[in-house]
Amino acid sequence: MLGYASSVSESAIRVGGVSKRFNDVIAVDDVSFEVGRGTTSALLGGNGAGKTTTLAMLLGLLLPDQGLIEIFGVDMVRDRYRVLPRINFSSPYVDLPRRLTVAENLRVYALLYGVRDVAAQIRRLADALDIGELLRRTYGSLSAGQRTRVTIAKALLNDPELLLLDEPTASLDPDTADWVRAYLESYRDRTGATLLLASHNMTEVERMCDLVLMLRSGRLVDRGTPHELLERYGRQNMEEVFIDIARDRRSRGAGAKRAST
């Protein structure tokens, strides 16, 4: 049974009772949530909270021990190939081939996704993401910021209806990070796509997200809009909420606990 959001009428993602264990370590423990279409949601949590494991299960890279994962109503464990053409993924921790040029990388992935007019799509994304001058350079020769723009271009090749982003602005300078956020927001607004991101950047989460899912030790411990969470924890910003949740401070006692530490 799904534990959340019966109010979400049309879900892009439905996760019900999902668990994953690696030997003695419970990475994800009975997690349930839904993400509505056209929304932006965030998976938050400290290191080892289960964010990447959850993302990997949503992508079908990792099989859950139990539970249900549906993307656009399709069971990701049994039938992932039906829905993979409609989703995409970007992470600074998963590379593209470094010796290939940016254009070659994009062409290969466009073909893998079955993009019809590959050249036109690459041209369009190169213009939109300002990577035209990088197309002939090898991916390995790019700076962190340039790589991020290229991996986002790769993630948008198939015009995904669901975009999963792991730390989309990690290791970017504030200006580039802001530019990336603005681009992702405009993409969502223009296409109605659903965005789910795992992030440590609370400013980003406050700015972009309609729903925040808080993970700690593999369990989903809280959820709500950024505004709801700020009110619930009596905090001024999401960073303070994050610390409260990560340190298991319940909402009403948060201030007192912080004072005593």
Binding site: T53, A56, L62, V94, D95, R99, L111, L112, Y113, G114
Partner: protein
């Protein structure tokens, strides 16, 4: 073929083609990789070419068919390059930490296998083809003198190489780059018992059944039958084909088994680290 099946096949072909293109781009942009393809087969061929020149005058066995050693080394390289082609192309994906990206696309595991085999064929043709041309130029020996059976030998050896390449790739996928040396060395365990340079009858009695369980043994025995007796031994060829069907099926099954295993263990995102 139904419309759905045709669309599905087109999609699969396109994805296999995309992966092949990715590795052709890699070769095009890296001359050391191309050189490496040709270097060892050529060095081996030159070495065995000179050994042949020596033995022609001192060994009546080699003198009966002067091309026997050069043919053996070139055909052995088909097997070795076939196996290495699969394993190295797979390793390229691990070295570039690209498997996670690949398997969030609609790419099926069997399509990756098809791409690995296609690239293995291309790499083998470049490597062994280059060495075969050097054999013509330096030793005035063309492996084409084997005639049409050469095609059957080539196909059987590369298929056995693919089977072993898939098994070693599967182990590397499961156990990480610590198992990388398997890709380079595993095949050499089989060389002494594959009857590459000598008949299987040379082996001790207890080892001969093991040797005969290898498709390559039948190919090399068949090669010598062509060179010494000028006959194509269909019995040996059929043995090789039958064994290869089993080997390739096992290779694919092992690869798919370990692919599922790494999905259970969550290694696809972190593979290569």
């Amino acid at each position: 073929m139904s419309g759905v099946a045709a669309v599905s096949l087109r999609g699969s072909s396109r994805r296999v083609g995309a992966l092949v293109l990715r590795h052709l781009y890699l070769l095009r942009g890296s001359w050391p990789r191309v050189l490496e393809l040709i270097y060892w087969p050529t060095v081996q061929m030159v070495l065995w070419g000179f050994i042949t020149l020596f033995f022609v005058n001192t060994s009546s066995w080699v003198a009966q068919a002067t091309g026997v050693l050069i043919s053996a080394i070139l055909l052995w390289d088909v097997l070795f390059r076939g196996q290495l082609g699969v394993a190295v192309v797979f390793l390229e994906e691990m070295w570039s930490r690209n498997l996670g990206q690949l398997f969030v696309t609609p790419l099926r595991p069997w399509e990756l296998i098809a791409a690995l085999l296609t690239m293995s064929l291309i790499r083998t043709l470049i490597g062994v083809g280059g060495a075969a041309l050097v054999a013509v130029g330096v030793f005035d020996y063309s492996i084409a003198t084997l005639g049409l059976p050469l095609v059957a030998f080539f196909v059987n050896l590369i298929v056995m190489g693919w089977a072993i390449g898939l098994m070693t790739s599967a182990l590397v996928m499961r156990y990480g780059l610590g198992a990388e040396n398997l890709a380079w060395g595993a095949i050499f365990v089989l060389q002494p018992i594959s009857a590459v340079f000598y008949p299987v009858s040379v082996l001790p009695g207890w080892l001969q059944p093991i040797a005969k369980s290898l498709p390559a043994t039948h190919v090399f025995e068949g090669m010598r039958a062509v060179l010494f007796d000028h006959v194509l031994r269909m019995d040996l060829l059929l043995n090789a084909v039958a064994l290869n069907v089993i080997y390739l099926a096992v290779g694919i099954a092992v690869f798919l088994f370990y692919f599922r295993s790494v999905r259970v263990r969550g290694q696809l995102l972190h593979v290569g680290e």
